[in-house]
Subunit: 232 residues, 2 copies
C-alpha cells in the first residue's frame, strides 16, 4: 500500500526514489517497509498490472533504473486500500504489549521501575517531537498533516504515560496479579474459558518483532545486557 501510494504520489519514479522517500520519512519504523522489499514490491505490483514500467534509463555502467507509474487499475486498488484503512480499525502491533503479558515473569520492583522508566522515555519522546514541530521543521516544506501525525503519536503516548504511572503504583502497592497457576500448578489448563469469551473480545493490539532503539533514549535493565535480538 505504502509503496503503491508513494508511486502514485511521486510518479514517475524509480525504486531508489521510493526508497529515499521512505527513508526520509523513517518509514522503516512506523510502516512495515524495509528498503530491501521495495524492488520486490514494485515488480509484483507491475506484474499485477497496478503499475506500469515507463522507462529504463541507464547512466554509464550503473544498474539500470526502471521508472514506474501507476495504472488506472492501480489507482483503483489504491483507493480501495486507502479507504479500507481509513474506515476500519486496523490491528496495531506493539511489542511492548506482548512483553507486558509476561509481567508475572519479572520481579515486582523491576516491573515497576521499568514502567516508570517507560513513562519517562515516552515523555521525553513527546518533548522532542514537540520541539521538532515548533522549531524550523515545518517551515522546511514538510506537509502540515505530518505534524498532525506526530500529534497522534503524542496523544497516544500521553495516555500511555498515565497508564504507566498508574500501573506502577499498583505494582508497588502489591496488588496481586500472579496467578496461582504460577505458584502452584506447573500446567495451566483453564484457558479454554478464554475462547468462550470471544464475543466481547476486541484486543485491538498486536505485537511485532524487530525492536530498533530510538536514537538516543534508552535505558538498560539492571543486570542483563539488554540485547535486542530475534523475536520468537
Amino acid at each position: 500500500m505504502m509503496i503503491l501510494g508513494l508511486v502514485r504520489w511521486m510518479q514517475p519514479v524509480h525504486g531508489y526514489d521510493v526508497r529515499r522517500e521512505l527513508l526520509s520519512w523513517s518509514a522503516d519504523k512506523w510502516a512495515n517497509v524495509q528498503p530491501g522489499s521495495i524492488y520486490h514490491a514494485l515488480r509484483k505490483l507491475a506484474e499485477e498490472g497496478q503499475l506500469r514500467e515507463v522507462a529504463t534509463e541507464q547512466v554509464g555502467a550503473r544498474p539500470a533504473r526502471i521508472t514506474y507509474e501507476i495504472t488506472p487499475k492501480g489507482e483503483d486498488e489504491f483507493q480501495n486500500l486507502l479507504r479500507g484503512l481509513w474506515w476500519n480499525l486496523g490491528e496495531v502491533v506493539d511489542p511492548f504489549l506482548a512483553a507486558f503479558s509476561f509481567l508475572p515473569a519479572l520481579p515486582r520492583d523491576e516491573a515497576s521501575a521499568a514502567l516508570r522508566n517507560r513513562a519517562r522515555l515516552l515523555r521525553s519522546g513527546n518533548d522532542s517531537l514537540r520541539a521538532a514541530m515548533e522549531s524550523g521543521w515545518m517551515k522546511q516544506g514538510k506537509p502540515t498533516h505530518v505534524a498532525w501525525m506526530w500529534q497522534l503519536s503524542i496523544a497516544r503516548a500521553e495516555g500511555e504515560i498515565a497508564w504507566c504511572e498508574r500501573i506502577a503504583d499498583l505494582v508497588d502497592a502489591g496488588v496481586p496479579y500472579i496467578p496461582e497457576e504460577f505458584t502452584q500448578f506447573p500446567e495451566w489448563n483453564q484457558f479454554g474459558t478464554l475462547i468462550g469469551e470471544g464475543g466481547a473480545d476486541a484486543g485491538p493490539e498486536r505485537a511485532e518483532p524487530s525492536e530498533r532503539v530510538g536514537q538516543a533514549e534508552r535505558a538498560e535493565p539492571p543486570e542483563t545486557s539488554g540485547e535486542s535480538g530475534t523475536n520468537e
Copy 2:
C-alpha cells in the same frame, strides 16, 4: 519471543499446545504469530539450543508430537529479550498511521467523516472492553494483569479519540494541508473525486452509520468495497 516465553511458561509443551494457547489469546492479532509459524519457531529455537526436545509421543498413527522445554540458555535469552522490550521503546506499527500520511489523497469531507467514524469505533471498542472487564471476565480466573493490558489499550484509544475529533475539526475548518505538488497536477484529484462520489447514489457522504454497536463494528467507505487486502 512470544513462543519462547510461552514454552517457558507452560513447559513441557508440544506445538499444538502453544498454538491453542496463542489462539485463545487471539495472539494472531496483537502479536505476530500465525499458527503456521509456530513449528518453525520451535525448531529454530531448539536448534539454537534455547529449547530442548523432551519427548516424542505418538498416539496411533497420528503425527508424532514433540514436547519441548526451555534450557538454561533459553531462559537467559528470554530474560534478555523480555528486558529489552520492557526497558526500551519499541516501534509500534500502525497501518492507520501509514494511511493517514495519504490524507491529501482524500476529499476533505470524506477525511473528516472517516475521522469521526474512527472516533466512534474507538469509543465503542473501549466500551466493549470495559464491559468485558466488568462482567464476569475477571472472575473467570483470568490473570489480573490482562485487565491492565486492556486498560492500556483503552488509555491509548482515549488519546486517539480526542485527536480524531480535533483533526476532523481542523479538516472541516479548511485548514490548508494540501502540498503544492497536489494542486499543481489536478489530474490526481480526478480519481479521488471520481471514485469518492461516483457511486451515483445520492449522498457521496457518510456511509450509513450502522447503529448497533455489536462486535461487528465496522463502517464501509462511501462506495468502494473496502477490501482490506495486501499492503504494498
